[in-house]
């Protein structure tokens, strides 16, 4: 771990502490929000403890991001190989379409197919998170120094060795940046899952919007925001560590 990472670690640990505190302990919420909104009779979201909402949210984002990253990486590798190069333009176009397609529309379309809850949300988040990973994987692999690749094959590496020993390690910082963007976007987008019963930190936000209770909205939004900053920081450290060799 480098010095720079050690310096970013301290604020990150403080944020993590705050996140855990606000997830486990309701008194700070009650204290602050009842002063801000004295007219509300309920200021803390009552239907589920925050730790369960956080766990649901992590599960939604975790499974969709792992799927999107794996798929993005594999497709990105495939279309930069000699044998897959002809699919590159088609894949680029498809992935961009996935990005412009609103997640709400994916949810609406997925519900009749797979029902309510967890599954359609993961599908929507997967499609939405695919592009950043895919685009960065392709960019990372295509911008490698041709001399390095020529040296690799000239020294007798087979295509798999070139990929695993040279291409992926060198493209990793760019690929990891894609994973980071994708995951952070999905943390925010996952709140939409609450509209179709997937749970997560979207629940207090949706409930607050419907019941005109701004306190609930703030609770959900603050926790989602903290969670996104935390994950962004952690993935940043992981990718920088790799980049420094």
């Amino acid at each position: 771990m480098t010095d720079r990472n050690r310096r970013t670690l301290i604020p990150l640990a403080a944020l993590a502490g705050l996140f855990v505190l606000l997830t486990a302990w309701m008194d700070p919420w009650r204290m602050v929000l009842s002063t801000v909104f004295p007219t509300l009779d309920k200021v803390v979201y009552p239907l589920a403890p925050f730790r369960r909402l956080v766990a649901e949210h992590i599960l939604l984002v975790g499974s969709s991001s792992i799927l999107a990253s794996t798929a993005g990486l594999c497709i990105g590798i495939a279309v930069t190989r000699q044998w897959g190069r002809e699919f590159l333009p088609a894949v680029n176009a498809l992935a961009s379409m996935g990005q412009t397609f609103p997640p709400v529309a994916v949810l609406a379309l997925a519900v009749p197919a797979v029902g309510f809850g967890f599954k359609p949300t993961v599908i929507a988040l997967f499609l939405y998170g695919l592009l950043p990973v895919l685009r960065n994987t392709i960019a990372g692999l295509q911008t490698l120094d041709p001399a390095v690749l020529e040296a690799a094959s000239g020294m007798g590496m087979n295509p798999l060795q070139i990929l695993t020993l040279v291409e992926i390690p060198l493209a990793l910082p760019v690929i990891m940046a894609g994973v980071r963007i994708s995951t952070v976007i999905n943390i925010g987008t996952a709140t939409l899952g609450a509209t179709i019963g997937a749970g997560g930190l979207g629940k207090p936000i949706i409930a607050g919007l419907i019941g005109e209770n701004p306190a609930y909205i703030i609770e959900g939004a603050v926790l989602v925001g903290l969670f996104a900053i935390l994950v962004d920081g952690v993935l940043g450290i992981v990718s920088r560590d790799r980049a420094d060799g």
Partner: protein, 360 residues
């Protein structure tokens, strides 16, 4: 031994190499040279199958390279390119260890080999082993590039303009260093360049190509004295006599000379000077200090040391391993008809005159 027979490479309708037949003997330093687009790099890259042949065969030690798995074949041949292509995410040691680790050498053997190679190229292992390529200068990077190609001790080395991207001074240093290393290792080398001076400096045999065809394949001396046609004549340039001198070592053309010691009496030294016309004056270990001739004898000094005309050791003493071209250059510059030749410790070993160089 590398045998190319009737090797042809076509890209679509364009012929890059046509019916090329060339043999490179074991331990030979062969240089492929020609203007850009003459097919020299393509030829080199066909030897390790980075470029597939259109027709013809290439045999290495009697085996058709087309019958070998490309990866196996390449691990047995070192490959060096102009842009070096060191792996930026690996240390110097990691880069050199690539082929040994592909060949699954035990760790200790690989580590010993890495240090041995760094030593060979004058890079101190303890300070260079753990550096990253971005911390190296151009010359250091290419030394590591060549070391990496030599890591698994291949008998063949393919080099594609390895020194082409370096500044002239670094290039010359690396050429000198590399020809020393080659004398030690005795590899079979195929070396591509467009620099005729580099070719003449390094090659045992030069293959001159033009538009994919063989124009002349001979020793540098033969090519300089008997160019096959106008193209070769123009390619080697109008100073081919000087280029030929750059292939000759001073020590091969110098002659024995008369010398006296600094402390010798002028009377004794005078006899030698009278017999020879002049004499070099050396101190105890034989290091050249000055020159005595007929005129200097008359000054009334007691010893040779007092009477001599001092010699500028940096400019007027020719190192024995210098080329005749360098010797001539120094003599012309200092206006000398003859100059002392000294070994690497500065000890007088002979003398060389303009006449000797003209006769060479």
């Amino acid at each position: 031994m590398i045998e190319l027979s009737c090797v042809t490479k076509r890209y679509g309708g364009v012929t890059a190499v046509e019916e090329l037949t060339v043999t490179v003997a074991d331990g030979e330093f062969a240089v492929l040279i020609g203007p850009s687009g003459c097919g020299k790099s393509t030829t080199l890259r066909m030897v390790n199958r980075l470029v597939p042949l259109t027709s013809g065969t290439i045999r290495v030690d009697g085996t058709d390279v087309g019958s070998r798995a490309p990866e196996q074949l390449r691990r047995e041949m070192g490959y060096v390119i102009q842009s070096v292509g060191l792996f930026p995410h690996m240390t110097v040691a990691g880069n050199i260890a690539v082929v040994p680790s592909l060949l699954k050498w035990p760790r200790q053997r690989t580590e010993a080999r890495v240090d041995e190679l760094l030593d060979l190229f004058g890079l101190d292992p303890s300070s260079y082993r753990d550096k990253y390529p971005r911390q190296l200068s151009g010359g250091e990077a290419q030394r590591v590039g060549v070391a990496r190609a030599l890591a698994a001790d291949p008998s063949i080395l393919l080099m594609d303009e390895p020194f082409g991207a370096l500044d002239p001074i670094t290039r010359e240093t690396l050429q000198t260093e590399f020809s020393r290393i080659q004398r030690e290792l005795g590899k079979t080398i195929v070396f591509v360049t467009h620099d005729i001076d580099e070719a003449i400096r390094l090659a045992d045999r030069i293959v001159i190509l033009r538009e994919g065809r063989l124009i002349q394949h001979d020793t540098p001396e033969k090519i300089l004295t008997h160019p096959a046609n106008r193209f070769v004549l123009e390619f080697i340039g109008s100073d081919r006599a000087l280029k030929r001198l750059s292939r000759m070592k001073t020590s091969d053309h110098m002659r024995p000379t008369a010398s006296v010691k600094v402390m010798d009496s002028l009377a004794g030294a005078g006899a030698i000077v009278m017999r020879n016309g002049f004499a070099w004056v050396t101190c105890g270990e034989g290091v050249v200090r000055g020159r005595l001739d007929g005129q200097t004898l008359t000054g009334g000094a007691a010893t040779a040391g007092e009477a001599m005309i001092p010699v500028n050791r940096g400019l007027e003493v020719i190192p024995a391993d210098a080329s005749l071209r360098e010797a001539l250059s120094r003599m012309v510059q200092r206006g000398l008809r003859n100059a002392p030749v000294a070994d690497e410790k500065g000890r007088l070993v002979g003398e060389i005159s303009l006449e000797d160089i003209l006769e060479a």
